[in-house]
């Protein structure tokens, strides 16, 4: 993992090169991504914008190493993900990427605080009491420290998504990737989640969000719009660094 821990020397944290993803089906091959090519700089807030089925989640899965490309390259923090095996990818994700899913995907049997210590446990970070201290600090940061010892089913969807964000931050990754993070939330709750994201960008995290929500796209520093697996536009927003909404 020398590549994964290498110091970033350039501004381009993520480099996507000629990325193609084809899913074979009984009805024939489906091209989910077609020759995708772009870079993301450190500290950017990028929205991957498009309609349902456009290929946003597929692209996000390539950046996190959850799925592997049919061809092309995905280099994150100088680490070529397309060349790594599944276990190496897991270890790399645990250390360098935090993922937030649309359906929160918390472990139902664990309390909120245990859900946050889980990635620390898998990655051997923040051992012993430091794990709990960090988890509580993260829960506090997303505003739900008082629910720390409840199980996910006992808190609301918005609170679960805050826990998911806290979990994504558990190992202090450079990159946060979120797939439709507000897709399952009402507008008020969604706004709260976006505030949390804005805070992360201000802390210097690189944030990539797949969304079909124009509001999120508006908040991003750059919007990459895709349709039918191809990039149709790349737009820089005037707000270079978003400010949190009070």
């Amino acid at each position: 993992m020398t590549n994964a821990t290498a110091t970033i020397l350039t501004g381009n944290l993520i480099q996507i090169r000629n990325l193609v993803k084809v899913y074979p089906t009984t009805a024939g091959d489906v091209k989910a991504l077609r020759d995708i090519h772009f870079d993301i700089e450190k500290g950017e807030f990028v929205a991957i914008y498009g309609k349902s089925g456009a290929g946003k989640s597929t692209l996000i899965n390539m950046i996190t190493g959850i799925d592997i490309p049919t061809s092309g390259e995905v280099i994150v923090d100088q680490v070529p993900l397309h060349a790594m095996d599944a276990d190496a990818l897991s270890r790399w994700r645990g250390e360098h990427v935090g993922i937030v899913f649309q359906f929160f995907q918390l472990i139902p049997s664990l309390t909120l605080i245990e859900n946050i210590t889980l990635p620390m446990d898998f990655n051997n970070t923040y051992r012993g009491p430091a794990q709990v201290e960090r988890a509580l600090a993260l829960l506090d940061a997303v505003g739900i420290a008082e629910h720390a010892f409840k199980v996910p089913a006992k808190v609301s969807g918005g609170q679960q998504q805050r826990v998911a964000i806290a979990r994504a931050l558990a190992n202090d990754p450079k990159v946060i990737v979120a797939d439709e993070p507000t897709g399952n939330l009402d507008s008020t709750t969604a706004a709260g989640i976006l505030d949390v994201f804005s805070g992360l960008v201000r802390q210097g995290k690189t944030l990539i969000v797949a969304t079909h929500d124009e509001e999120i796209a508006r908040r991003a520093s750059r919007v990459i719009e895709i349709s039918d697996g191809s990039i149709v536009s790349v737009k820089k927003n005037s707000v270079e660094r978003v400010e949190p909404v009070a």
Binding site: S90, I99, I107, L118
Partner: protein
């Protein structure tokens, strides 16, 4: 101490799914406890029965002789081939029970109770220094008859004289068949007491331990022959009978050692099967848990877990199950061992010295109970955790990609059924590996279940075959022999008696051309048209009218004398008289030992006992045997009439009494086997529940679709129930096929262990039908939980599942 989150997850899920966890732990415990129970009990039996038996110097040989004194015993003991001798006088008379009935009691007297060398009895209560008019009772006889130290016992000699003796001791004698089995009491008294009762002060049985090759049957018998030719015959003593103690056991071994070891081996095999099946259940359960958590596995891998960590979590889960299983199984096995050994100790009259858990059994339980489930669980754990993160999070629950195997193609062609039934059928055969595993579990349970019934049927059939040779309502021995005509006349005087036959019995040997003699065999003299025997001819023919040289032998004899067959000439020797005969027929084995049947005239010529009867057999009806109560009444009438006529004071026996006792013993063994088969069925049922649960989980979306298109709760339940019943039925068919050979093996093992006889196999069709009902019930019960879960799924939950 803080438990890391991943282990906490495992522990919490075990706790949250208590019913599932308890079922797995219990099923594991059943398997491990069974292994513990059988092996621990085996160790107790070996230690406390065979060990104690060995310590009491068991005889290699019993020789029944004409009256002899201690000098003869001393002379035999001086022989190089003889390690030790013990003279004793044995005698069977009657005693008065508390209920006022006369029952048989075997009396034993020794020269010196302080110096018994062979088959040493141990004093349990009172004393063994017996004066005149004192008696010590064997403890099982004493317990069964309610006799205690201080009681007075009335004995009745053959000449009707009564003797009052006082019970002064309770003695444990491992070397006699227990009262529970034989129904005859055993007691000890002094030679002086026997003299007081009118017996000669000489001995009639010599117990011998050979000095070398003590368990070699042929060697022991050859030593017996040497004793006879070198010491007894020159001293003008007659050898009436030479026998190796036991039921076909090797010399110096406990009389039931082979039978007990045989049964223990069978139980052990069943125990191993139970543990294999419960391990299978662990595989099913872990598969169910993993499938339920596939998305969680994906998420954990997405947040940094490597496969090794995920594998570790599920193996930790199995480890917890196995440890809990062991914690339940070890004490349960110990209690079971205590129960089984107690049962054996009551039956075989020995004491369990201590209840402890032998280390080797604990080791075996730990290895089987810990390593086996962990080992087999590796398979689903490794295969399920190899799924890619993407598939785990986004693809699972959508249904396996269609594979068009033979069964699938066949099911596609089935169209005349309702869509829910078709859905069930196609679901059933979708995951072939899981289906195969469930079917194997249930098929084994079924095959075992039916096999136990087949074993029961085979034993019944075997007993029926043996009963052909005891085809009478009642019979009575005529000790010392009486005139045939007198005996038959007395029996015919009993009202309703239609068939009366007198039989003559003597011991003989086969005289070989080289001068050697065979082991002793029985010679029976009986009418050629005897109606109280229905011989099963294996070869040749039965005795004919006017037979002068032809004899019929049984398979017990051909088993020992392999060269003898129909047409062979054999020379029989009784006393000093020899006569050569031609074998005209061979009849099946019937637990009698080696026998030669001949006409009464031939018997008279061979034994010089013309027209004498040693027993009489009677029947009320020439065609059918009477009911047990009528047999009992007839037996009592025989006893009274023969006693009044001064012919015999023996107890009568009835057909029912002989075979009733037989089947009681078999039933105990079969009940244990049935219990084990039921346990296997329970484990199989739990496995089916697990499989159906997994299927419901895997088909969540399809069930949601069914509900979305209007399927009622009942329809959804029916889908799962049909699946359970179909699997049950398929396993029944497979179990039926396997039960044929499996039953043959089990029945052969049991019959060999218990009867030392060859198997007459009988397949149990009632067992097959009973299993069909049982598997139907299991199929329905196993489906109820998963069916309810499927019916309670809402369309919204199904959407969430996406």
């Amino acid at each position: 101490m803080r438990i890391p989150a991943r282990w906490m997850k495992v522990l919490k899920e075990i706790w949250e799914n208590k019913t599932r966890s308890i079922l797995v732990v219990l099923s594991l415990a059943i398997g491990v406890a069974t292994v513990g129970m059988i092996n621990t009990a085996a160790i107790y039996v070996k230690r406390d029965l065979f060990g104690a038996f060995e310590r009491g110097n068991p005889a290699s040989l019993h020789m029944y002789l004409s009256p002899f004194d201690e000098g003869v015993a001393a002379a035999v003991e001086k022989m190089r081939d003889v390690e030790a001798t013990q003279p004793r006088r044995v005698k069977t008379i009657k005693f008065l029970t508390e209920a006022g009935e006369w029952e048989e009691i075997s009396l034993n007297a020794f020269p010196d109770y302080e110096d018994i060398q062979i088959n040493i009895p141990t004093l349990e209560e009172g004393r063994l220094s017996l004066s005149v008019r004192e008696i010590a009772i064997e403890r099982q006889s004493a317990e069964a008859l309610g006799l205690r130290v201080g009681d007075e016992l009335t004995l009745k000699n053959d000449d009707d004289r009564l003797f009052a003796v006082r019970v002064v001791g309770i003695v444990h004698d491992l070397y006699v068949m227990p009262y529970e089995l034989l129904g005859s009491a055993t007691a000890f008294l002094s030679m002086d007491t026997l003299a007081w009762m009118g017996d000669p002060s000489q001995y009639n049985r010599l117990d011998i331990i050979v000095s070398e090759m003590r368990s070699d049957r042929d060697h022991v018998l050859s030593v017996g022959e040497k004793i006879e030719t070198q010491v007894l015959t020159p001293a003008r003593h007659t050898t009436y009978r030479t026998e190796i103690p036991g039921i076909g056991s090797d010399p110096g071994r406990h009389w039931a050692e082979d039978q007990i070891n045989g049964l223990l081996l069978i139980f052990q095999i069943m125990g191993v099967m139970a543990i294999l099946l419960s391990s299978g259940l662990v595989v099913n359960t872990i598969s169910a848990i993993i499938i339920q958590q596939i998305k969680q596995i994906g998420i954990m891998r997405a947040i940094g877990a490597v496969r090794r960590q995920i594998v570790g979590m599920y193996l930790f889960n199995v480890l917890i199950f196995t440890i809990l299983g062991l914690l339940v199984a070890i004490p349960l096995g110990l209690v079971g061992a205590w129960w089984l050994a107690s049962f054996a100790s009551n039956f075989a009259n020995f004491d369990i010295q201590s209840i402890n858990l032998p280390l080797q059994v604990l080791g075996l339980q730990v290895i089987l109970g810990l390593m086996l489930p962990l080992g087999v669980a590796m398979l689903p754990v490794l295969s399920s955790t190899s799924i890619s993160v993407y598939d785990a999070i986004y693809q699972y629950g959508i249904g396996t990609k269609g594979k068009n195997g033979f069964v699938d193609r066949l099911l596609i062609r089935v169209r005349n059924l309702t869509p829910p039934v078709l859905f069930s059928l196609r679901n059933t055969f979708r995951n072939k590996a899981r289906l195969t595993f469930t079917l194997v579990t249930l098929t084994l349970s079924g095959a075992m279940f039916i096999s136990v019934f087949s074993t029961r049927a085979s034993l019944s059939s075997q007993i029926d075959e043996i009963s052909r040779y005891l085809n009478f309502d009642a019979a009575i021995a005529v000790p010392g022999g009486s005139m045939r005509a007198t005996v038959e006349r007395e029996a015919r005087r009993i009202e309703g008696v239609n068939v009366v036959e007198s039989w003559s019995v003597d011991s003989a040997t086969i005289q070989y051309a080289d001068g050697r003699e065979s082991e002793q065999l029985q010679v029976i003299g009986l009418p050629h048209d005897a109606q109280t025997i229905d011989p099963l001819l294996v070869e040749g023919r039965w005795l004919a009218m006017g037979e002068s040289l032809g004899v019929v032998i049984n398979e017990d004899l051909t088993g020992v004398e392999t060269a003898v067959d129909v047409g062979s000439e054999i020379t029989l020797k009784v006393g000093q008289k020899e006569q050569t005969y031609v074998v005209v027929g061979v009849v099946s084995k019937h637990l009698s030992g080696a026998r030669v049947y001949m006409t009464p005239t031939m018997f008279g010529r061979l034994t010089n006992r013309y027209n004498q009867a040693d027993s009489v057999r009677v029947r009320l009806d020439a065609n059918v045997l009477s009911a047990p109560k009528e047999q009992d009444l007839l037996g009592a009438q025989l006893e009274t009439r023969f006693e009044n006529a001064g012919i015999s004071r023996s107890d009568s026996t009835t057909h029912y009494a002989i075979f009733g006792d037989f089947t009681d013993v078999f039933d105990i063994v079969l009940i244990i086997l049935i219990i084990m088969a039921v346990l296997l069925a329970v484990v199989g049922g739990l496995g089916l529940t697990g499989t159906l649960s997994i299927n419901v989980l895997e088909r969540t979306r399809e069930i949601g679709v069914l509900r979305a298109v209007g399927a009622s709760n009942t329809s959804v339940r029916r889908v799962v129930l049909t699946e359970g019943v179909v699997i049950g039925f398929v396993s029944w068919v497979l179990g039926a096929l396997l039960s044929g050979p499996a039953g043959l093996v089990l029945a052969a093992a049991i019959v060999t262990a218990m009867l030392k006889a060859e198997l007459s196999y009988q397949y149990s069709f009632p067992g097959l039908l009973i299993w069909l009902v049982v598997i139907g019930v299991i199929g329905v019960l196993a489906s109820l939980g998963p069916a309810q879960r499927a019916a309670s799924l809402t369309v919204r939950e199904v959407l969430d599942y996406e």
